[in-house]
Amino acid sequence: MSSLTSAKVLAPIGTAGKLFAFGLDVARGLFKRPFQLREFLQQAWFIASVTIVPTALVAIPFGAVIALQVGGLIKQFGAQSFTGSAAVLAVVREAGPIATSLLIAGAGGSAIAADLGARKIREELDAMMVLGIDPIQRLVVPRVLATMLVAVFLNGLVSVVGVAGGYFFNVVLQDGTPGAYLASFTALAQLPDLWQGMAKALVFGLIAAIVACYKGMNAAGGPKGVGDAVNEAVVITFMLLFVVNFVMSAIYFQLVPPKTG
């Protein structure tokens, strides 16, 4: 009985360990030749095509909400001229990577998990291994790299669209001046903000793709298993991404001192 309980308690640790081991396998597969360029390009295109429009549509209200919230607050302090920098900070540092990660996990990750899960239960992955081809090298590595690449691009998209959305709401709806919005850009924001946003997007893409591939490749129990795998992949990715986002932000603040305007 006690061993049964302890087995249940320790099960999540085992799963975490397996996920980590899978990540290491992928890292090893990265250096195996030949590199699957075709698969990589196809996947990058596929992931981009399922994420670009939703990301843009999420980014506009995201930027607008930040502009509304921060704009209202700053007005009470009488520091309207800083609205622009506040929006940039919020969008580029946090909203960009977070919105990117949500879309990458929700649209890209679920598609990857469903695809690999369906291949797993149709025994395609077994067939591939039997044909002497490592599915990690052949299928997973290109997907992971493609997701990372697309995540970085999406992050840029969210930043641009978010800042533009913020500009629109600040200038058109809140009677801010365009000059003040743009001028305050550089007051608090700095170049490393952009780098850390991209670094975050890269790591988020990596995590989302690895979790999705792991869950998809371990789907079991028929069509329902694929559904479960997709569901678990998205939930686990979300949880991981928010934790990692917090850790990376904390590290960033330690490494890069905030600019004093």
């Binding site: 369906a118 291949r119 149709r122 025994e123 077994d126 067939a127 291994m129 039997v130 044909l131 081809i133």
Partner: protein
């Protein structure tokens, strides 16, 4: 030429549940073997263990001097090039056309030019009767066609060992008969070692040189076809003749009460042993033995009417 597979003391369990234990057998090079067993006795697990997709708990599987139960991943990927495997549903890659599916192993493993690949692919497609369906996607064709396409892909690298996972499941009797003939013809042609996992009695009675029976977590018997077909062993006899009387029940094993109730029930006589399917060109396979050879050699009297040319294919009921 075919390669011998030597399995020794193989044991596999999932968690605490034993699938089968201590399975030892030698699959002779170039011969056709059938692995039989009631549903859920781990026949497919056995097949997957043979190709190293599942690791056994104990025991060894030796192919060309390499123990694939305990070797490195790299060696495993190398030795798998000897194998061709036909999966239950064909396991075709859903995103590729049949042509690309069959060409896939060639493109991955050989440096052949596209025109050479085309020749080989078309030859294999013709062999399984799929000419004209090259541009179809696996989702657009019937299960039987998918199976045949899977067979074409399994054969494309000229394997030394071909494994079939239930080639006859989901096929109508006519197609099953054609497929069985195709299996025998293929064996005559490429001389590879064949292992067929099935629970179709007709296939088991007429196709193989050797039969194995997995039952109740162990290998009940493995040996030449005529040995099992003339065997009085209750499990073997019941299964190979598809009877209700015997130790096998609806759920794996009958309990003591059910067995007691069957006490004294007259067992129907063993049905005659059918002739083995011969290659369609009439030239005997290398591993083929004349009908009745084993029985004669071991002093076993086959059931009356055995090896009759005009015997009906039905099993005794």
């Amino acid at each position: 030429m075919g390669v011998e597979i030597k399995v020794d003391g193989l044991t596999k369990s999932f968690g605490k549940q034993l699938i089968w234990g201590d399975v030892s057998l030698t699959i002779p090079a170039g011969e056709i073997c059938v692995m039989l067993g009631p549903s859920g006795t781990g026949k497919s697990v056995f097949l997957k263990t043979l190709i190293g997709l599942l690791k056994p708990d104990r025991g060894s599987i030796v192919i060309e001097g390499l123990d694939i139960a305990n070797c490195s991943e790299k060696e495993l990927y190398e030795v798998r090039k000897l194998f061709g495997v036909l999966f239950q549903d064909g396991a075709m890659f859903g995103s590729m056309t049949l042509y690309d599916n069959v060409a896939f192993p060639l493109r991955e493993h050989t440096k052949k030019s596209e025109s050479e690949i085309r020749d080989i692919v078309m030859e294999k497609m013709e062999l399984v009767g799929l000419i004209g369906a090259e541009t179809k996607l696996p989702g657009e064709i019937s299960g039987g066609m998918r199976k045949r396409a899977g067979l074409a892909r399994a054969l494309v690298l000229d394997p030394e060992i071909v494994l079939f996972d239930e080639p006859d499941s989901g096929l109508d009797p006519v197609r099953t008969a054609f497929l069985n003939q195709l299996i025998v013809d293929l064996n005559a042609q490429i001389d590879a070692t064949f292992l067929i996992v099935t629970h179709d009695i007709n296939t088991a009675r007429t196709v193989p040189d050797n039969i194995g029976l997995l039952y109740h977590k162990h290998l009940a018997m493995f040996g030449p076809r005529e040995m099992l077909l003339s065997s009085e062993e209750p499990v073997v006899r019941q299964f190979l003749n598809a009877q209700r009387v015997g130790p096998i029940g609806m759920s794996e094993e009958k309990d003591a009460d059910e067995l007691a109730a069957e006490q004294g029930q007259e067992l129907p006589p063993l049905p005659p042993i059918p002739l083995q399917i011969e290659p369609s060109n009439g030239i005997a396979r290398r591993s083929q033995r004349p009908p009745g050879d084993w029985c004669l050699e071991h002093g076993v009297v086959p059931p009356s009417g055995s090896f009759d040319q005009n015997m009906s294919m039905s099993t005794g009921v």
